[in-house]
């Protein structure tokens, strides 16, 4: 039949770019770093298959401490972003009047389009010794001399939450937006208190959005580079910094690739765990819009 032939042809034509993209830019490169990480350099141009790179990682506490620190700070940032972002998303989706809703949403989005660098730079201008906040505090006499607010963990967390909170708000707003107010009315009508209505109706309804936001925020945080480096200074101990250092400064690609594989495996594991615990799937959350 000629018509089913054209159907097949167009399927193949549409498949081509997808396959090229997936295989050449995602799958093979990932296999590539996996392969590289299992290679040990014996001499110039001489390699052997071994787990030596992974052994190095385990043998050096700085490395795995950095990974663990990155992980728990990322989780902390994710939780904080959820706590900070949820009320904002709820306000935009459910409380704000129709007209101000769009404006508020827009205000949330505009910083989204400004690069990490500019945002981090803004924090530096605000927080450093000669920065605005230090100056302001001196002026009102709260402190005697200039105070350095950069280069500590709290600043890094505040800066990271700032960088990622928008990615939490956007999916939350779009899920909460779909929630009909009559669900809440039914909840109250059937005798629910504010707390039970929130816990039994709002949170379950928003779950796909919460999970989507958390996944994106967690991955962005764990993979971020600029914010921890610039706000945390040289001793920020962020794992991506280690990867960069191995690749660029030490030119040790084998060990850099190992770190890359470890970071990917680790973050994937946490995302998988999160999906598992909440009973969601990647397609139902991240790809919802």
């Amino acid at each position: 039949m000629p018509r089913s032939d054209t159907g097949k042809l167009s399927l193949i034509l549409l498949f081509m770019p997808f396959v090229l993209w997936m295989v050449l830019l995602i799958i093979l490169p990932q296999i590539g770093i996996g392969y590289l990480s299992l290679r040990e350099k014996l001499g110039p141009g001489q390699y052997t298959f071994s787990f030596a790179n992974y052994a190095d990682f385990l043998g050096e506490p700085v490395y795995w401490n950095t990974l663990l620190r990155t992980a728990w700070m990322s989780i902390l940032v994710t939780i904080l972003a959820l706590i900070v972002g949820f009320p904002v998303a709820y306000y935009i989706a459910k409380i704000a009047k129709q007209r101000s809703r769009a404006a508020l949403f827009l205000m949330c989005l505009i910083p989204l389009w400004v690069s990490d660098l500019v945002r981090a730079f803004g924090w530096i201008v605000l927080l450093r010794e000669t920065g605005l906040i230090s100056g302001f505090l001196q002026k009102i006499g709260l402190i005697g001399g200039p105070v350095e607010l950069l280069y500590n963990d709290i600043t890094v967390v505040v800066g990271l939450v700032y960088t990622v909170v928008l990615f939490m708000i956007v999916p939350l707003v779009s899920t909460l937006d779909g929630m009909d107010n009559s669900l809440l009315e039914a909840g109250y009508n059937l005798g629910g208190s504010r707390f039970t209505v929130f816990r039994r109706i709002v949170v379950p309804y928003a779950m796909p959005g919460i999970v989507a936001g958390c996944i994106i925020v967690f991955m962005l945080t764990a993979g971020s580079y600029l914010t921890p480096i610039l706000l945390g200074g040289k001793n920020s101990m962020w794992f991506t910094e280690q990867i960069y250092e191995q690749f660029v400064t030490r030119y040790n690609w084998e060990s850099g690739a190992t770190f890359g594989v470890l970071l990917l495996a680790f973050t994937s594991f946490i995302v998988w765990l999160g999906l598992r615990l909440t009973g969601q799937s990647l397609a139902s959350t991240v790809a919802k819009d």
């Binding site: 690069s115 990490d116 201008v125 973050t267 397609a283």
Partner: protein, 288 residues
């Protein structure tokens, strides 16, 4: 009465206050960065020494304005070039993917769909190094066996484009697929029924319907590409895009108000583009 809102006035005030504080938090660093672009001092810091536009238009050291700073301008052009190329590519491939997943049936579809989303949850650094490693492997292999020098596989603009493309396709695919999903296939059938050829249906019915999504996918891809740092950092060669140039400047020279000026410029540019995309989307959605 809005059942979703807090009922007591006191709680409403607290909630309102929280929202205000949140938006102040959002605005603070951007405002701070913006203010010092206009300070007539060689440090982006207090005290305020008067208003100036030197950091934009100044032509002499030490107050060399951004528009006269050759390296920054080169970075800006590189960013524009990379951004336009990668956005165009991602929109084209994203459109193909959207049609593939919304219109076609094939075995393993749901699995491949998840695979399509995966690049979004791979940290950018890892996309960067994996493409760097893979490209270098090919380049080394070609050099060893065929004795050819494939320079485009060494760090440089081509790899930056590939690196950004690798995850931007996911974003454009999702944006375009979302619009295509809402498309009523009966419109295409109606056009066919009225005698149009398949190609004509695509050009006169389907693509015009998708146009707002194609446009906003392009804008999103462009903005994300423009501000991308993590993936680009690993793949960049001698002709670095703007964010990398700025970062170099910040690390090597320390912060200077010219960076504030670039930030203001970027904020205005991205804000304008984002706004344009939203307006375009809205204009098409509600024809009056």
């Amino acid at each position: 009465m809005n059942v979703a809102a807090p009922q007591s006035t006191f709680l409403r005030w607290i909630y309102g206050g929280y929202m205000l504080a949140f938006f102040l938090y959002l605005a603070a660093p951007l405002t701070a960065a913006a203010i010092f672009a206009f300070n007539d001092s060689i440090f982006p810091a207090l005290p305020w020494k008067g208003f100036t536009l030197e950091w934009f238009f100044g032509s002499t050291e030490p107050k060399l304005g951004m528009f006269n700073d050759r390296r920054l301008m080169e970075g800006l052009w590189n960013s524009l070039f990379i951004g336009l190329t990668v956005s165009a590519l991602s929109v084209i491939v994203g459109t193909c993917n959207a049609f593939l997943f919304e219109r076609k049936q094939f075995p393993g579809k749901s699995l491949l769909y998840v695979l399509m989303i995966v690049p979004l949850v791979i940290p950018g650094v890892i996309l960067g190094i994996s493409i760097l490693v893979f490209a270098s492997m090919i380049a080394n292999g070609v050099e060893d066996t065929l004795d050819l020098e494939w320079d485009f596989l060494r760090p440089g603009t081509f790899l930056v484009v590939l690196g950004q493309f690798s995850f931007l396709v996911t974003i454009t695919s999702l944006v375009i697929a979302a619009r295509l999903r809402k498309f009523d296939v009966a419109l295409e059938e109606a056009a066919l029924n009225l005698g149009a050829s398949r190609l004509r249906v695509l050009a006169t019915v389907t693509l015009p319907y998708l146009a707002p999504a194609l446009f906003s996918a392009f804008v999103v891809a462009f903005l994300v590409s423009f501000e991308n740092f993590n993936t680009t950092l690993m793949l960049v060669g001698s002709d670095a895009p703007l964010t990398i140039t700025m970062y170099d400047r910040m690390v090597k020279v320390g912060s200077t108000p010219v960076l504030n000026a670039v930030s203001v410029f970027l904020m205005m540019g991205s804000g304008l583009l984002a706004l344009l995309s939203i307006v375009a989307q809205r204009g098409k959605d509600q024809p009056t």
